[in-house]
Symmetry: C2
Subunit: 213 residues, 2 copies
């Protein structure tokens, strides 16, 4: 179970500084949608240059103009870029095509998809699927994991889980064995981000050790 | 019927130069999603500073993190910002709330919505709705207007129409009396953008005169 550090609502310089503090405890580094929209794709380039050995995820949330946007991400150094599951199928297919050309990966964000959507998306088995409780939904519902729980059974591909995940919710989520847990504010807003990341990493390792024991 | 000039897949400097060429013939100026994602929200600020008397539309295509993204747009000088119709309702509602706070407007992009979505969206009557054939859909289907035709009847609010619109398709669209026609490449990729914009503007004026005769 990998940890994807989600960097949002901060400057590019703060994102680099934050990643530097916690890099020993995270696997993938996500340039959040807010960084891309606020500062452009140069934010992706800056993170890849600062951390060339990390998998850089560009959370560009493409919903149209797939070729152009995915080219921007991959040329800027992203190893993986996101497309919305609610995008038209041609958009998702173009993203997969671009990723294949660049030998990179696609993450399909399942935000606001329903079971019918998810069934249609199963065909895209080269993609990583991301079960996602949105920031806005968290704000009304509070931190929750119930929305993640139904996903695993409907997708056989690699998958990620995102949205308000903290040490408290990890226990439930870990039972679902996602490939990636995406963690933002539980690390970036912690009083001590390094300690928080270390604690989460060690907790995941302990869960995995128990599972293999 | 207003003309919204969509600026996409170019630099901010090119966008300003393009707008300067055609400003006499367009009403609203859209900072395209590709400009925002490639260069950040400074693209919005640059266009508003260059054209303080134009309505500036930030096509940010929000699908989450609505408060933060809409604040970015409005603080940068946008008069109107876009949210996806396929976003969670709370996201759309947050956009409307932010717009009311700033005394600005919301455009709801109907890309990939179905009739059920559209019925649910009708309640947001402060918004402008945008019937949208996506760039990616245009690339497989060719320029088409059929996808726009069904929209007018289901929405009583102000509405816009976007996606591959040219002088050829204006005739059909004009009969549907949208509030705004969003035109990109038919102007920006024309050999002579100023002449193309003038021709489109005069054509719309002639249609409107005939309608009032």
């Amino acid at each position: 179970m990998k940890i994807q550090l989600a960097l949002d609502r901060m400057t590019v310089e703060e994102a680099i500084e934050m990643t530097r503090q916690v890099e020993d405890y995270v696997d993938w580094v996500e340039v959040g949608t807010s960084l891309i929209k606020e500062f452009g794709t140069s934010s992706i380039r800056a993170l890849k240059e600062a951390f060339p050995n990390k998998i850089i995820v560009a959370d560009i949330k493409t919903i149209d103009n797939a070729k152009y946007e995915f080219q921007l991400c991959f040329e800027a150094g992203a190893d993986l870029a996101t497309v919305m599951g609610v995008a038209p199928p041609v958009t998702i297919e173009t993203c997969l095509h671009m990723a294949a050309q660049y030998d990179k990966r696609v993450m399909v964000d399942l935000l606001n998809t329903n079971e019918e959507h998810i069934q249609q998306l199963r065909q895209y088995d080269a993609a990583i699927f991301c079960a996602h409780v949105s920031k806005d939904q968290q704000e009304i519902a509070g931190k929750q994991t119930s929305a993640h729980a139904g996903i695993r059974k409907s997708l056989s591909a690699e998958w990620a889980v995102a949205g308000g995940i903290s040490l408290d919710s990890l226990d439930i989520l870990a039972k679902l064995s996602p490939t990636v847990v995406i963690i933002g504010s539980a690390i970036t807003k912690a009083a001590n981000p390094k300690a928080a990341a270390k604690q989460i990493k060690e907790y995941i390792l302990s869960i995995e050790e128990r599972a293999h024991a």
